[in-house]
Symmetry: C2
Subunit: 230 residues, 2 copies
């Protein structure tokens, strides 16, 4: 069961409507953004930063940054701010990305190929260790250095690569079956790109990415802007 709760925005007092033991989902999303910016700062040669600087790049107030981080501990130093390396390590530990997360990709169509070529995963601690398809014209192909295997080999390769995550990039009609097979080999979480709702046991987490939904949310934000209809 996913116990996170989407509860706060940058303007509300999250703590006031948060039940015990939950961290607002929006806070966890912002942690990822902080991590991304801290890594950019480190790459640019900065060893320390401030809540003010972190916030201003991301469009949040410094108070927001401090409040978010306060959910998880005390990270700043008086007169110094945050030590980038230290805060990066702390956030990775909170997010769980200090661990390895070998993933299986199922579906090597356009989107699957893009996922295989996506450099961002490796940089952030994720790796696609095995890729699967059932299309005989795809099985056996090498994409981005990884051989596409028949889905029948999922149990064997899941064991060998200690697969923990599954990525579903198959058509909607096949998504539930693929999810069931991923669950059967013990994945702990699924990133689902198929535009369909998948039923899973409560012990498996899921994040859905439906690109059309992202566009719909963008459309809504445009037609409902305070300045809309100028």
């Amino acid at each position: 069961m996913f116990y996170l709760a989407v509860m706060s925005d940058s303007k509300s007092n999250a703590a006031s409507c948060t039940p015990d033991n939950t961290v607002p989902k929006a806070v966890v999303s912002r942690l990822s953004l902080y991590l991304r910016e801290l890594e950019h700062l480190t790459r640019d040669g900065f060893s320390t930063t401030s809540s003010n600087r972190l916030g201003s790049v991301l469009g949040f107030s410094d108070a927001q940054v401090r409040k978010d981080l306060a959910y998880f501990g005390h990270f700043g130093y008086p007169g110094i701010g945050y030590r980038c390396d230290e805060l990066i390590s702390a956030i990775k530990k909170i997010l769980g990305t200090d661990q390895q997360w070998p993933a299986a990709l199922v579906g090597t169509g356009n989107l699957g190929r893009a996922l295989l070529g996506y450099r961002g995963f490796q940089q952030r601690g994720f790796s696609i260790a095995a890729a699967f398809d059932v299309d005989p014209t795809k099985v056996g192909l090498k994409i981005e250095g990884l051989e596409v295997c028949h889905l029948a080999r999922l149990p064997e390769l899941a064991r060998i690569h200690r697969i923990r995550l599954g990525m579903i990039a198959v058509p909607a009609v096949a998504a539930q079956t693929v999810a069931d097979r991923l669950v059967a080999v013990g994945v702990e979480g699924i990133l689902n790109f198929a535009p369909v709702t998948i039923a899973l046991p409560a012990t498996v987490s899921i994040v859905g990415v439906d690109l059309a939904i992202e566009l719909e949310q963008l459309a809504f934000s445009i037609v409902n802007r305070p300045d809309a209809g100028r």
Copy 2:
């Protein structure tokens, strides 16, 4: 300025912590899910449905469905439930997808190609009307029936195709420059796939999709499950 606020989860009383004139972002996200399910139901031959049925497929309570829809009006009929076609039209109008949203894609690497081949956009009212790159080995190629044009032609083609949205699928270092060029030709919103925060004028909306961040959120939900550490 994006005035939506992420404020509620399915368990909290959204109205109690929502300032006037805002709809919680989580509600708007769920509208997209309702729309997706309603379209599945229609395709399967159903002409009516209930809050109970809609909710159960998505893992929400019937009360949640009714409460979400109540933000926008009264849609159900006693003894009938919801008329699928009618609710689909209403949600599209709310989301703004009863309008046309011609989009420009910038970047035709792996991800850009996947976006060009993504069938889900067209089905949901979005279309990529023009594709751009600056790589001479890509300019002139035809991908999914669309010619890749040099980014220098953006102003001309934005006018011809009445481009309203931009999709950024270029490397992080180029994303801000591309965003600035999209803003200069008058796009109203940007879907940004580059793993970097982009600064935009308040009159342009943005939705960021960072696939590594989605995986981080999944990892967090796994390591923080109530049953974690069994």
